[in-house]
């Protein structure tokens, strides 16, 4: 965590293979990303990573169910439809699965985002300010769901936030300031 401009998103981008470092090495899930081409990185992301975005980033032309299906489709899995339905049921949107993003509230959109992030059982899930665009009550529900799913699925969650309350719910907090790691605390 850290204030705006502290380098949180830059670090997330580097860890997720979305950006290349000017110097040093990025090792993630046991793999060094230095020699990866753009296509290698894309393959790594679709196989091993999941993302939850502050602004949801749902594809506006796809229904809730189709949005959730995308990661499995990218992996070439055939059961994407039924799995997406299961996941939407888990996030409480079974009756909204054929709705388009513009027909869903912010909280509902973020729950679709959660289903999409978990559906392919990634090793690591990156969540960038997942409650940043939600009111406190809806945000609390989404956070509760995020941690619940994380516990059930047993994956690594990397959460980017400047919200101390949210950060407190994690097992380890890295604090950044001006692009520098200023503290690393586990609890």
């Amino acid at each position: 965590m850290g204030p705006s401009g502290s380098g949180k998103t830059t670090l997330l981008g580097l860890c997720a293979g979305l950006d290349r470092p000017d110097g040093g090495t990025v090792r993630i899930a046991g793999q060094a990303m230095d020699g990866f081409t753009e296509e290698d990185r894309a393959r790594f992301r679709r196989e091993s990573l999941g993302f939850v975005f502050q602004n949801f980033r749902l594809l506006p032309t796809l229904t809730a169910k189709e949005n959730v299906m995308v990661p499995l489709e990218l992996l070439g899995q055939r059961s994407a439809g039924s799995r997406a339905e299961e996941w939407l049921e888990r996030v409480g949107l079974k009756d909204r699965m054929n709705h388009f993003p513009s027909q869903l509230s912010g909280g509902e959109q973020q729950r679709v985002g959660l289903a999409r992030a978990f559906i392919h059982r990634p090793q690591i899930l990156f969540a960038d300010e997942p409650t940043g665009n939600l009111d406190s009550e809806t945000g609390a529900h989404v956070v509760q769901l995020l941690f619940e799913l994380n516990r059930t699925e047993g994956l690594t969650l990397v959460l980017v936030t400047h919200n101390p309350e949210l950060a407190e719910q994690t097992g380890r907090i890295l604090r950044l300031k001006g692009g520098i790691l200023v503290s690393d605390a586990s609890h």
Binding site: T9, L12, G13, L18, D19, E38, E39, A42, R43, F44, R45, R46, E47, L49, F51, F53, Q54, R57, L58, L59, P60, T61, L62, E66, V70, P71, E73, L74, L75, G76, Q77, R78, A80, F100, P101, S102, R116, D128
Partner: protein, 838 residues
């Protein structure tokens, strides 16, 4: 499901399904461009056909076979075996006697069969008496002869041993060539009565013609090829409507070029519209592409999803555009009927339709691909950050260059298929690229200038309207490029139309001679000129005709390698020390600087120089009534044979032929038919040997035809303007999605509707103004270059075209700006934002 084409198709379908309204909007906008492209191609064919049909009265038939001797039994058998209608004519120049007061007169008697002509009408006074010559021994005589000799219908004319009764005056004759204007006045009789004159004998100088009418173009081609195959052995000449059109020279050639160019312009306008709309379309896809990349979709697959959507768009737009093009083509003639009274046949030119759709589809796809390609390089980090490079800097992407090259090649190939000249076709995409660079520079400079001069104290609509031109992600450059280029193309067509119409009008208009005095002896020229001046007629030209034959070339007698007609003909040459207005030098110099005493410098027409196989410096020998004159070619001239003036193959300098046997022709203008009659009577009384020819009769058929040509040119120009209005309005409307968010934000902040409308009006009005100024400058330059170097005519733009064009462009842009916010202003702001997200 594997990550294959199936998934790409599925994703494209999902996107298209949800977005169908927007996709349909884009497809409709693009289809206007494709429609213009399809309609222009077909319409060009329609207009060409209309002009071909209108040209038929110039010949009177589809094909004419001419012979100096009667057609023999073999030829007659061939003609009879052909499944086409045909008519015969015999023509001879003879003296006619008028026993009831007129004395005698040299006439060119045309003896024709009933049914002549196949196309056009023989206009008479009184009306419709042409057919009467077939009912009884009747004759129709040219009106000026009737006036000159004081003849009236019912009087008798003796031709050879036969007597004919005058049925009326001849007003207009189809099938007359410009070259024939300096022959004797015409008269028409029934061919079946020609024998009774006793003038057709073994060695008579009659000319024989056979007119053919075919029902289909394929018949025409096979007939012409059959008759031409026997041209040499049967010693006849074959001519067609197309030949006559060609003989009309540069005017018609330029008219055809103009029609082709205008259809190309419509294509380019379509292309501009397509590019502009798809630029907006691709920008809308950026966010979705970045999300997919972030989720791990490979770059190529991501591109393929949106390219496939572009493919759908292209297919839908092509089908719509094809239908729209056909509809436009069918509707425009009746819509514009009041402006252009010309019968334009509607038929589907399938080749143009298919070509239009294929080119339109390919062009749409390539234009869609150009802005989509950078998405391959879009950083997936953009999913987290607003200000991350979303695949900009396309100029560094080799794929963008490859697609750009492919698009340029396609435009080049299409241009080549229309104008058939590789160098000119290559100039089209290159000049378009140059124009875009110039437009971009003009926009940049105008914006800097505006920023510097507009004070911060200006009212809010002006400040916001101007700010919209500079703000990030503005579309000023794209819209000025599209509108400016579209405007430049329309201005080019408009100015070329002005210049061509003026050029045609010069040839057949009021400053042309109305009267030719022929067979004038040398010592009569001054007295005749004085007579004309006394009767307030302007003497436009006096020319000497010196008959001669060619005897040798380059010191050798004439060989069989030289075309028969060039070898055997009588050359009627003249002498003068200037280049006539109907000619221009293509090589050498005239008047000649100096020459050897025993060799006369001459100027030769370039066509006959080619047939004779001579060039600058070569020597020729002419036999002038028994005297051999050695001449050297010192100048080559290009002659516009269509100009109504005496034109010559060979021109000598002054001081050589003055004493040779010769006759003169005097051309004069006259204000009215009455004045011409007065002059004719005076000439006949004082100079009985001089013939007067009313040029108006020959001119009238040509004038009528060129009126139709001018209408066709206007029609095509109007079509281009109509296409431009639709295409550019479509391109402007496509930019509306960029305005939706801003409108909603301003509305949320409480901005009244009239303020938003004013802001849009000012922004789009200024875009229109930049485009109009830049388009006008580029259009002037392009039209000047084309008229000067391709059409080879004087560049005469009409200021009215410039003013109207500029006003129309500014108004079109401003009106579209005002129209943009209309629907949005009636909706709640949040509704607008929600709708935008769909």
């Amino acid at each position: 499901m594997p990550l294959t084409s199936g998934w790409i198709l599925l994703m494209a379908w999902r996107s298209a399904r949800r977005n169908w309204k927007r996709l349909l909007f884009h497809a409709c906008a693009v289809s206007i461009g494709i429609g213009a492209l399809v309609a222009a191609g077909s319409f060009h064919h329609n207009l060409q056909e209309a002009l071909r049909v209108q040209a038929k009265p110039l010949v009177g038939a589809d094909v004419v076979v001419r012979s100096r001797r009667p057609f023999d039994a073999e030829a007659e058998a061939l003609f009879l075996s052909l499944p086409y209608q045909h008519l015969s004519e015999a023509e001879l120049t003879t003296v006619a006697f008028f026993p009831e007061g007129g004395g005698s007169r040299l006439l060119e008697v045309r003896a024709v069969e009933r049914g002549f002509p196949f196309y056009g009408d023989v206009a008479t006074d009184p009306d419709n008496v042409f057919s009467a010559i077939f009912d009884s021994p009747g004759i129709l005589i040219e009106r000026n002869v009737m006036a000159e000799l004081g003849l009236a219908p019912g009087q008798t004319v003796e031709i050879g041993q036969a007597k004919f009764r005058i049925t009326g005056a001849l007003e207009l004759v189809p099938g007359e060539a410009v070259a024939s204007i300096f022959s004797a006045p015409r008269a028409f009789i029934d061919l079946s009565r020609l024998g009774s004159t006793g003038l057709i004998q073994e060695a008579s100088l009659a000319r024989h013609k056979r007119y053919f009418k075919t029902s289909q173009d394929s018949d025409l081609e096979s007939l012409v090829s059959l008759l031409r195959s026997k041209e040499e052995s049967a010693q006849w000449g074959v001519s067609t409507v197309a030949d006559r059109q060609r003989s009309l020279g540069k005017r018609l050639e330029n008219a055809d070029r103009f029609l082709k160019m205008a259809s190309l312009v419509a294509l380019l306008l379509g292309g501009i519209g397509v590019a502009c709309i798809l630029y907006v379309y691709a920008r809308e896809k950026r966010d979705a592409a970045v999300t997919l990349r972030c989720l791990g979709a490979p770059a190529r697959r991501t591109l393929a999803v949106f390219a496939t959507e572009g493919l759908f768009l292209g297919a839908a737009a092509s089908v719509l555009g094809g239908a729209l093009g056909l509809g436009l083509q069918a509707a425009l003639p009746s819509l514009l009927d009041h402006f252009v009274r010309i019968d334009i046949p509607f038929f589907i030119a399938w080749s143009s339709l298919i070509k239009g759709i294929v080119v339109g589809f390919t062009l749409t796809f390539l234009f869609a691909l150009l802005p989509l390609l950078p998405l391959r390089r879009a950083s997936p980090l953009g999913a987290f950050r607003m200000n991350v490079d979303a695949g900009e800097a396309p100029l560094r992407d080799p794929a963008v260059w490859a697609v750009g090259l492919l698009t340029t090649t396609l435009v080049f190939l299409f241009a080549k298929s229309v104008i058939h000249r590789a160098t000119l076709a290559a100039a089209v995409p290159l000049s378009m690229a140059a124009a875009i660079i110039v437009l971009s520079l003009i926009t940049k400079l105008s914006l800097v200038w505006l920023r510097a001069i507009v004070p911060s104290t200006w009212p809010a609509p002006w400040r916001h309207g101007l700010a919209n031109l500079f703000r990030p992600h503005n579309q000023t450059h794209v819209l000025v490029a599209a509108l400016g280029l579209g405007g430049a193309l329309v201005f080019t067509v408009g100015f070329l139309n002005n210049s061509l119409l003026r050029h045609i009008a010069l040839s057949t208009g009021g400053d042309q001679p109305r009267l030719a005095l022929i067979d004038v002896e040398k010592d009569q020229v001054d007295d005749l000129s004085a007579l004309l001046r006394d009767r307030k007629a302007n003497v436009l030209e006096r020319a000497a005709f010196v008959p001669m034959r060619i005897q040798g070339i380059k010191g050798q007698p004439l060989g069989p390698d030289i075309a028969d007609w060039a070898r055997r003909r009588e050359y009627r040459s003249t002498y003068r020390n200037f280049v006539a207005p109907s000619e221009h030098l293509v090589a050498g110099a005239w008047p000649p600087g100096s020459s050897r005493n025993d060799v006369v410098p001459v100027s030769i027409e370039e066509g006959i120089a080619e047939d004779l196989g001579v060039s600058l410096g070569d020597e020729l020998a002419f036999n002038v009534q028994g005297t051999v004159i050695r001449a050297a070619v010192t100048a080559l001239r290009r002659v516009d044979w269509f100009q109504l003036r005496p034109n010559f193959f060979v021109v000598f300098p002054d001081g050589v032929l003055e004493e040779a046997p010769q006759f003169h022709v005097i051309l004069a203008n006259a204000a009215s038919t009455e004045q011409i009659g007065t002059i004719q009577r005076a000439v006949r009384a004082a100079f009985p040997n001089v013939s007067t020819v009313d040029l108006g009769m020959v001119l009238e058929t040509l004038r009528r035809y060129f009126d139709k040509v001018a209408l066709a040119l206007n029609f095509m120009a109007l079509f281009v303007v109509a296409s431009a209005v639709m295409v550019l309005a479509g391109a402007l409307l496509a930019s509306r999605t960029e305005r939706i968010r801003e409108t909603a934000l301003l509305r949320i902040l409480g901005a009244p509707g009239h303020l938003i409308r004013k802001i849009h009006l000012i922004e789009y009005g200024l875009i229109g103004l930049f485009s109009a100024v830049a388009g006008l400058l580029l259009g002037l330059l392009a039209a000047f270059l084309v008229s000067r170097f391709l059409f080879e005519i004087a560049f005469s733009p009409d200021p009215g075209t410039a003013v109207t064009g500029m006003a129309a462009l500014v108004m079109l842009s401003a009106a579209t700006g005002a129209f943009l916010g209309r629907g949005q202003l009636r909706m709640p702001p949040l509704g607008i934002i929600r709708k935008d997200q769909e």
